[in-house]
Amino acid sequence: MEINLLAGSSPHIKSGESTQKIMRDVIIALLPATIAAVYFFEVQAAMLILVTVISCVASEYLWCRITKKKNTITDLSAVVTGMLLAFNLPPALPLWIAVIGGVFATIIVKQLFGGLGHNFVNPALAARAFLMASWPVQMTTWQTPGWDAVSSATPLAIMKYGSEAPGEMPGIWDMFIGNIGGCIGETSALALLIGAAYLVARKVITLELPLAYIGTVGFMTWMLDGESLFTGNFVYHIFAGGLILGAFFMATDYTTSPVTFTGRIIMGIGCGLLTSVIRLYGGYPEGVSYSILLMNLVVPMIDRYIIPKSFGGGAVKNA
């Protein structure tokens, strides 16, 4: 019997995990927030999400065609980028701006630097920053959820500017479920936390980075945002803006976060400090996107210097 045997190097079995399966899990984890977005911001949100996803996937497809590279849209990472970008847009944003955001995220931020795994900043956040710089008015026109939408400030803006900002401070419960002004995907902490729990259960993400991030923001705002030290309303700071979305879904982006436990803690604390400083002392009411983008830039350095001791490495004490 003549048989043709494979003789590769071990291991000979695999976990069955794949990039596509991970991205599919992220998409599933984003669904509760998608539903919340459509519930609160209705057709506007649905259209934004649809348009950015199509924009990202189509850009990636065309890029691969034009550059004669292997088509990579099946890894689903473009869908994730599209959803995350839409989540970071205000509900009334003209759709053509959203399309430009998708193209920018995919071509400029992701593909020009080598595609999946090589972009040095989070594509969705970089695109949001680009849109903010290009169309600041449209990108900061907020409204309350629902048919009777009226223009309103985000809770963070109300906190920051007080009576100068239109609208009233919403209650904690409205903030938790997402019945507030803001970007379409960031408002419902509840929906985002359900998705985050799914990601943790599926072992797609680990908790050290998000917890370090949220913990730092909580501590800093509790310490510094009150009349006197340690009287700040940290609960509002945690649930009012994009922190939950940023901490669980954006900062944990594989490509742009450290690979070690220690590195992730450093990134989480760094993001937390920057967000707090921007929110409390900066010109913007919100600072999650810029904090994550800034920390993205430090990730290669963190990974370069945080090389753990191997098991039994360094000085070993044995009883």
Binding site: L116, T255, K309, F311
Partner: protein, 450 residues
């Protein structure tokens, strides 16, 4: 059966990382069956880590069972013996899957299985003579590494070894041959442990067994009722629990310093099958000529546990298990995590062979490598706390010296990183390349100086 068995469960330290692959230990309940005398045997002169042996027989010679047919005068080596009586038909080079070529003796059995006169229980008066007997038995570490046992039992001067850890973890999927040994020969294992303790003067031994092998734990504890020099430690089920450094940590709480040996942590590790062989040898004087082997995999008609003579062509072992029901695409000697894929069914059973797996097309299929998405799963899985992704990216670029920064030489090649990688990157494989390249570079430097 009601038996009041009390075995001690120590507080076990858990190593970091590791994976939990599917066990596939369906053969655990199957008694070991002996494979009939093969049509020929091929016995390579290197079945251990160290210097190869020189053949002591030539074509046409008649050899007997247990007769020494190869030995070396180098310190790190173990002699090889004939597993059959018959005529030497050839002494020729044999190519291992690793690319190493060694001499091998091919023997055609005459069916008589006449035992050589040298086979007699060794008479030992002191430690030195016992160690010499261990060497003469041809025994090597049967857990898979194949390091000559006589060397392991002679601790380096100046180091005090006070704990013997007996490895019954058997953490690799599919393999149940150690489990069968524990079920079928518990007394032999305990006698072997006592023998090793006698030879080395170690006062205390622990047998580490994964908690999914409760039957084996119960069985061995029945023979340990009043013993306080040997204890069983039930270990969490996680690969690579049986890795030497991980096992030592779990059982004793001691860490083997990076780049050092277990003796540096005061520990000696022996596989259960190795110690039971030692007991057997001191009783009968029959050197290592046969092995318990788990035969499994989707292409095998009747997965089972067998006992085969060393040198048996693996084709004949599979034939004994009903042959193939599916076309085999990959034949693995050892477990699926660290075993060696064989290029031919004519390759022989070796001293360290504890499993033979025949994977069908489906099982052998390897997903295509894609780009690293930096998910960090390899980092989380590495039991040695390394950063496989960065070692891989440096190897891909040919920056071998850079991998030293990432402690590549501490890699135990368990394969957890490659197992978990969603991009199917060849992580552990690239570490092997880095280690080999670094060895070459070091050898060149050495050569340059001389």
């Amino acid at each position: 059966m009601i038996c009041e068995v009390v075995y001690l469960v120590k507080a076990v330290k858990s190593f970091r990382g590791g994976i939990k692959p599917r066990h596939h230990k369906e053969t655990a309940g199957l008694d070991t069956v002996r494979v009939p005398l093969p049509s020929k045997v091929l016995i390579p002169m290197l079945q251990h880590i160290g210097a190869p042996c020189t053949p002591m027989v030539k074509k046409g010679d008649r050899v007997l069972v247990g007769q020494k047919i190869g030995d070396s005068d180098k310190p790190v080596s173990a002699p090889v013996h004939s597993s059959v009586s018959g005529t030497v038909t050839d002494v020729r080079p044999f190519l291992y899957s690793s690319g190493v070529e060694v001499m091998a003796v091919e023997i055609k059995p005459d069916g008589l299985q006449e035992v050589h006169e040298s086979v007699a229980p060794p008479v030992c008066s002191n430690r030195e003579s016992m160690l010499r007997a261990v060497r003469e038995s041809g025994i090597v570490g049967l857990g898979g590494a194949g390091f000559p046992t006589s060397i392991k039992l002679s601790p380096p001067p100046g180091k005090t070894v006070d704990i013997l850890v007996v490895n019954g973890a058997e953490c690799e999927p599919y393999i149940t041959s150690d489990f069968r040994e524990m079920m079928e020969n518990p007394e032999g294992i305990i006698q072997g442990i006592r023998k090793v303790m006698e030879i080395t003067g170690i006062p205390k031994a622990y047998i580490g067994i994964e908690s999914n092998k409760q039957d084996a734990i119960d069985r061995i504890s029945m023979y340990l009722k009043d013993a306080n020099d040997i204890e069983i430690v039930s270990l969490p089920v996680r690969y690579p629990q049986g890795g030497e450094k991980q096992l030592i940590y779990a059982v004793t709480g001691r860490k083997v310093p990076a780049g050092k040996l277990p003796a540096d942590a005061g520990v000696l590790v022996q596989n259960v099958t190795t110690v039971s062989f030692i007991a057997e040898y001191f009783k009968t004087g029959m050197p290592l000529i046969k092995k318990k082997i788990t035969v499994d995999g989707g292409a095998v008609a009747k997965p089972m546990n067998v006992e085969a003579l060393i040198g048996t062509p693996i084709r004949e072992v599979f034939d004994f298990c009903g042959g193939f029901i599916d076309e085999p695409r990959k034949i693995i000697m050892g477990g699926p995590m660290m075993g060696v894929a064989q290029y031919s069914l004519e390759n022989p059973v070796l001293k360290q062979t504890n499993a033979l797996l025949a994977f069908n097309e489906n099982e052998a299929e390897e997903p295509k490598e894609s780009v690293c998405i930096r998910c960090g799963k390899c980092v989380a899985a590495c039991p040695m706390n390394l950063l496989p992704l960065y070692i891989n990216s440096n190897v891909v670029r040919g920056n071998f010296e850079e991998t030293l920064k990432y402690h590549v030489n501490d890699c135990i090649e368990c394969g957890c990183c490659s197992y978990v990688c969603p991009a199917s990157r060849h992580l552990v494989q690239s570490m092997r390349i880095a280690k080999a390249e670094l060895r070459k570079m070091a050898a060149k430097k050495q050569g340059g100086k001389n």
